[in-house]
């Protein structure tokens, strides 16, 4: 096991994680609309809407023509007037004729903005349309849907995608998700150690299997706690802490299955501590470990695919499809995964070497 003592991959993890943490601090969130006010409108009167955006570049020289539409289903409607007041604010006037109100189903409008630098971004259901009860005439002109003409739909910036509900927490992709990758790789290393022990019968392979489970559980706990706080402020806004825990265990299959899998490995550690005889302990726990890994794979990779979950990529879809990650996220996500896995193995190597010294002393 010379990899325990070589240094290059430890340095690689330092470089990768430094890059990832720096990237998670310095790369901005992409353009998005944070609010449109007022949030509701009656028919037949002209409203002036104040639109507040985030990280948009309306007055930038490269922005070109800034356009706005109000969208209902597939229909785009141009505002009566539109002007940008600063980089991140704009003003639009708009009115809906009462004669047309029944064509708005559902009775809400999305705000969609496009410019050449920021691309197209939108706020779903930005304005609720309050329908009039009696309609005989109208004092505003009928709306005609337009075909939007844009230069770029995609932004020309280096930024993370702006998603409603998630907002800045999209950066957690580099911290929460790789915890589970690291845990899986460590448990795989443990499986390899156990199989090697059963084949060769060397004590150091048993040490590898044991310590890898300990470090994997550390990463599992990290993944769990980070997932807990992330879900509290995204999926479960306004839900109390006790309800968050209950909902996660009952409603999110991935969370519940991961907990079951972790308990199997906790049982592995308890099993080890209950057997006095060293050779017997190593053999029994190695066999148990093979079965525990199979259950882990079933719980984490198979079970969540069978049913719906709040996690992206579950319910039949493979995780991390092209819809979940864009190119900027990828540039940091893959290094993050490798970096955290290497950090896990670094901690593992220290644990194993410590155990080796302990065993040498005892002999």
């Amino acid at each position: 096991m010379s990899w325990l003592y070589s240094k290059w991959w430890k340095w690689l993890s330092v470089i990768l994680l430094t890059y990832v943490v720096a990237g998670s601090f310095f790369v901005k969130l992409g353009p998005g609309i944070t609010s449109v006010s007022p949030i509701a409108m009656y028919t037949d009167s002209v409203y002036t809407f104040q639109i507040t955006c985030y990280h948009s570049h309306f007055t930038d020289a490269k922005a070109g023509k800034v356009q706005l539409w109000f969208k209902n289903r597939a229909n785009y409607y141009a505002p009566l007037s539109f002007k940008t007041t600063s980089n991140e604010t704009a003003e639009a006037t708009f009115a809906v004729s009462a004669l047309q109100q029944d064509s708005f189903k559902p009775a809400s409008l999305d705000a969609v903005i496009n410019d050449e630098l920021d691309g197209t971004f939108a706020l779903r259901d930005a304005i609720t349309l309050v329908k009039a009860t009696a309609v005989d005439s109208s004092n505003t002109a009928l709306l005609i849907s337009t075909e939007p003409e844009v230069k770029h739909n995609k932004h020309q910036l280096v930024c993370y995608p702006y998603r409603e509900i998630l907002y800045e927490t999209i950066r957690n992709t580099f911290f929460h998700v790789p915890m589970w990758f690291a845990m899986t790789m460590l448990l795989f290393a443990s499986l390899v150690g156990s199989i090697m022990y059963l084949v060769k019968g060397e004590e150091r392979q048993d040490t590898l299997a044991h310590q890898a489970v300990v470090v994997a559980l550390l990463f599992g706990v990290c993944g769990y706690l980070t997932g807990l706080i992330w879900s509290k402020y995204t999926w479960y806004i306004g839900v109390s802490w006790s309800d968050v825990v209950r909902k996660l265990l009952l409603e999110d299959i991935k969370m519940a299955a991961a907990l079951v899998a972790m308990f199997f490995y906790l049982a592995y550690l308890i099993l080890r501590s209950s057997i006095e005889d060293e050779a017997k302990r190593a053999k029994v726990s190695a066999v148990y470990n093979v079965f525990a890994f199979v259950i882990f794979i079933l719980c984490v990779f198979v079970l969540p695919r069978l049913t719906d979950s709040m996690h992206p990529g579950n319910g039949g879809n493979p995780a991390f499809s092209k819809y979940d990650l864009d190119s900027t996220l990828r540039a940091f996500f893959y290094p993050a995964v490798i970096g955290w896995i290497l950090l896990g193995f670094w901690i593992l190597s220290v644990c194993i070497r410590l155990q080796f010294i302990q065993q040498k002393r005892e002999v």
């Binding site: 943490v21 800045e168 929460h176 402020y233 901690i347 010294i357």
Partner: protein
Amino acid sequence: MKKFLNLLLLTLLSLTTFAQGESGTNDFFKSNLKIYVVVAVLTIILSCIFIFLFSLERRLKKLEEK
């Protein structure tokens, strides 16, 4: 060492009560487009790893004392 671990645990404990105090209004963690959730996540990961490293050091110390 044990004192230090206790101190660390207590600081962490205060962090959770702080979060609970906010759960009624949800102001702090939701401000600035929820950036503090990222801070909390990084804090959790770092403190878990630090606690693990301290426990590792305790094992090492036992060996040294033998």
